[in-house]
């Protein structure tokens, strides 16, 4: 009986679920601990209490650890940014970043003469001697998290690799992120993603060491994966080098879990947490992605992220009666809900209290909210239902009715009468949808760069791109036969005569190969 475990480490709760195929056989919810890892170990111990731990074939962990670090500008390492282009460069690294993140992540900047054309031809030799000299200066010499970005490195990475060798020699023990490994054409956005990644690497090392220790502590010997932005997974080796790719896994996991639990592949998913409610659209089993440039903590990147609308309403949201009527949130008691909400003996009126008073939810001590004004209760819930209904309408692609699935720890807080919905489902394991989504994720491969058509046809270039994406997925741990193309397009570059170049994007998905111990080793 091969089992999969999914763990979701949120800001408030750490959830875990054990799955046999797509059947949930155990789940649990524990408060997230201050050190994160104790909470993970407790949740794992709990959820595997009734199963043979040697049957566990994989553990997938989703975490908001890294996104929180970026949005709060905390626990980030100072980064040495190396830009290879025609110098002086016009828009240096960290351009258009919020001050808070510049202060946290900007160690030093070195500009190096070099770079490639769109077809991969070098336009000047990379000035490695200049780089070597700059690295010996006081400012750079003590930094160890290094990000190297070269013009058109997604087409030709020679410059970045050569610079990496120089950096590793000059700064022993350096952790180097090369921008081309994060993919896309668009130098500033690619560099931004690489810089955030570089700043997260020491934290990733710490977190992953902790996850390994927690899993080992519980006596599970299965390989561990981290869940990434697009609902797929990566090995810990990859996650250590690319923590940025896990940054939006939270909403994605909830939505994927909702798909599995409800059996629906096209629906609106409402994930009600302690502080916020995320609402997104699931299409063909995957979250619809935003078509706009994605800001991470105020930094522009070219990542694809689920197009999720966030409402400042959750189980811990304060209910306030003011001049303008009754409002709920965005202020929340968060993880302190178990001591501060009325039904738990506290003195703060929260959405959870109101829901208990209205009979939507049975939790805590209902006698402590028996005295609430029924009109207040009605109006608070009406406020929530209206806000949710508006968001549901926003994420829908169509004016017709669509099934709605409500998940998350606060799933019961939302009413069942949602305008525009054909049905409203609340799966039995709704509270652990995110952990379930994490457990059932896939592996992806993606190519997005410019292909020269000198000496090859469009079809050949497309085939080469497809193969590259498939190889990437297989290298990352996918079962080769299961890999399929889910998205692909080609864009001829405008203004260049002769049809000499194509920008090709291909994305593939495949099942995790559970027979491999460390797929990425």
């Amino acid at each position: 009986m091969p089992l999969r475990i999914g763990v979701d480490v949120g800001g408030t709760n750490t959830d875990a679920a054990v799955l046999d195929g797509s059947t949930v056989i155990a789940s649990c919810k524990r408060p997230t601990s201050a050190d994160v890892l104790t909470g993970v170990a407790e949740a794992l111990r709990d959820v595997t209490a009734g199963v043979d731990r040697s049957d566990v074939h994989s553990v997938v962990i989703g975490t908001t650890h890294f996104i929180n670090a970026v949005t709060q500008g905390r626990f980030l390492a100072p980064v040495l940014a190396v830009r290879i282009a025609s110098t002086p460069v016009p828009l240096p690294p960290f351009t258009d970043w919020p001050d808070r993140l510049v202060n946290a992540a900007r160690g030093a900047v070195i500009e190096v003469e070099g770079g490639h054309q769109f077809d991969g031809t070098p336009y000047i030799e990379t000035d490695l001697e200049g780089l070597r000299e700059a690295l010996s200066s006081g400012e750079a010499a003590h930094l160890r998290d290094v990000v190297i970005t070269s013009a058109f490195s997604p087409v030709n990475a020679d410059g970045e690799r050569a610079a990496q060798a120089v950096v590793e020699e000059a700064l022993p023990g350096a952790r180097v992120t090369l921008s081309h490994e994060l993919g896309r054409v668009g130098l500033l956005e690619r560099e931004n993603a690489a810089l955030l990644n570089g700043a997260l690497r020491p934290l990733a090392q710490k977190a992953i060491d902790g996850f390994l220790a927690a899993v080992a502590d519980v006596g599970i010997e299965a390989p561990i994966f981290l869940s990434q932005n697009d609902g797929t997974v990566m090995t810990l080796d990859t996650a250590l080098r690319f923590p940025i790719l896990t940054i939006a896994s939270g909403p994605t996991n909830s939505m994927r879990g909702a798909a599995v639990e409800s059996g629906l592949s096209d629906c609106v998913v409402i994930d009600v947490g302690g502080t916020t409610t995320d609402i997104g659209l699931l299409r063909e089993g995957y979250p619809r992605e935003s078509s706009l440039a994605v800001q991470l903590g105020g930094v522009r990147t070219n990542f694809r992220m689920p197009d999720v609308v966030s409402l400042g309403i959750g189980g811990g949201s304060r209910v306030v009666e003011g001049a303008g009527g009754v409002t709920v949130g965005p202020e929340s008691v968060g993880y302190e809900i178990t001591t501060r909400a009325r039904v738990f003996g506290g003195d703060v009126l929260t959405l959870t209290d109101v829901a208990v008073a209205a009979g939507r939810l049975t939790i805590g001590d209902p006698t402590r909210v028996a005295d609430l004004d029924p009109e207040l209760v009605r109006r608070a819930l009406e406020y929530v239902d209206d806000a949710v209904a508006q968001c549901v309408d926003r994420v829908k692609l169509d004016r017709g009715e669509i099934p709605v699935v409500v998940v998350g720890g606060g799933a019961a807080l939302v009413g069942s009468n949602i305008p525009g919905s054909s049905t409203v489902q609340r799966p039995s394991e709704a509270g652990c949808a995110n952990a379930i989504g994490a457990a059932l994720a896939n592996i992806s491969g993606e190519v997005d760069r410019i292909f020269s058509l000198a000496g090859s046809s469009r079809a050949e270039a497309m085939a080469a791109a497809r193969q590259e994406a498939i190889d990437q997925a297989v290298r990352a741990g996918a079962v080769p036969e299961s890999v399929r193309v889910v998205d692909g397009e080609d864009i001829p570059l405008a203004h260049l005569p002769g049809g000499t170049a194509l920008r090709i994007r291909v994305r593939v998905l495949g099942d995790i190969d559970l027979t491999k111990e460390t797929a990425d080793a």
């Binding site: 016009p90 828009l91 769109f118 054409v185 668009g186 078509s291 706009l292 570059l493 203004h495």
Partner: protein, 367 residues
């Protein structure tokens, strides 16, 4: 004229993407370059066309190249300055002002950074009032204005000054130089006097872009429908709302040719429309009928946020509203249509105009 502050730059950037008519490249990089140059050199004066002296000496300053290259080999404003100064040297006379060649995309804001470095004002006037693919598709051509002498400069230290027989030749020559350089160059062209500029150019494209951008920004802030607000305030036509059901692209003669198919949603359910493009959108077709064509502006905008999405960025599944916005009247004259109408691009059809006002209740139906 208002001060060119960050808010105005942001609004111009957003509006210029709309006026790009699906092409022109993302002006975000241009905005950053302008902002950095202003921070380094001080504020840039934006002057109205009517306010420049007749003996002013003006050139268009722009980048030529592929949008996919421009976002990697980020053009350096210093090279734009080099192009300007080379042309000054060739002509033996300094420029007193610079102007954008087009109001759409990256080039709408290209002159700002160079103007900051040179300490000269930007004239709020351009030669297209939108974006077009060819260098000769500018209003000066309608008045026999000459595109050359023209100078080109790149980040590798390459410098060209060319004189061409016709404006159309200068497009071919600039394109050849740009390909040799690696896909993007700055160029200064159409040297003209203040008096000529007043007779030839389209007035206030940057303020138009700023108003479009401000409308979108305000509507988003008020949670109103940004596209509806844009049409209500700027008098365009809502052509269709739907989902991108397919997109085909091919390269011929150095341009992006393609067709996006849009399946109607909501009130437009059951309708299907094709958008044909050559870098910029040229024709919107429903069945056999053209419902909107060049030279009017055709743009795709994300339905919810009103974010303008250029043709290069359109993807399967995007939910968009297609809008039509009126172009400068001169493009609808006989000469104007010969230069920029559907037949210039090989479509044997008459131009179909966008309804000039949303308040007349007509969307752009065929004539």
């Amino acid at each position: 004229m208002p001060e060119l502050d960050q808010q105005l730059l942001d609004d111009i950037t957003l509006g210029a993407t709309v006026l790009g008519s699906g092409g022109g490249g993302d002006p975000y990089v241009g905005m950053l370059l302008a902002r950095a140059a202003i921070a380094e050199h001080g504020p840039v004066d934006l002057v109205a066309l009517a306010d420049i002296p007749d003996d002013a000496h003006i050139a268009f300053l722009a980048a030529v190249g592929a949008p996919g290259v421009l976002i990697e080999k980020i053009p350096r404003p210093a090279d734009g300055v080099a192009a300007l100064e080379m042309l000054e040297k060739h002509l033996g006379r300094p420029f007193t002002h610079v102007a954008p060649i087009e109001a759409g995309g990256f080039n709408a804001v290209t002159p700002i950074a160079a103007a900051a470095a040179k300490g000269i004002p930007v004239v709020d006037a351009d030669g297209m009032g939108r974006a077009f693919p060819y260098l000769d598709m500018v209003t000066p051509t309608l008045y026999d204005g000459k595109s050359t002498p023209m100078s080109l400069a790149d980040e590798h230290g390459n410098r060209l000054v060319v004189e061409c027989a016709t404006n159309a030749w200068s497009e071919a020559m600039a394109r050849a130089g740009t390909v040799a350089s690696g896909g993007v160059m700055y160029f200064a062209s159409y040297p003209m006097s203040g008096a000529q500029a007043k007779a030839w150019l389209i007035e206030a494209p940057l303020m138009r872009a700023a108003r479009l951008g401000a409308t979108l920004r305000a509507a988003r802030a008020e949670k109103a429908d940004p596209v509806a607000a844009l049409l209500a305030e700027h008098g365009g036509a809502r052509v269709i709302e739907g989902r991108i059901a397919g997109i085909e692209r091919r390269t011929e003669g150095g341009f992006n040719f393609g067709e996006a198919t849009i399946e109607g949603l909501g009130a437009d359910r059951g309708r299907t429309m094709s958008l044909l493009f050559q870098n910029e959108y040229l024709v919107a077709r429903e069945g056999d009928d053209a419902v909107l064509t060049t030279p009017d502006i055709i743009m795709t905008m994300e339905a919810e946020t009103g974010e303008p999405i250029p043709a290069e960025e359109l993807r399967y599944g995007f939910r968009v509203v297609v809008v039509g916005l009126p172009c400068d009247e001169r493009w609808h004259t006989e000469h104007g249509l010969r230069l920029t109408g559907p037949r210039r691009f090989g479509y044997d059809i008459d131009a179909v105009r966008a309804a000039t006002s949303a308040t007349n209740g007509e969307s752009a139906e065929g004539n």
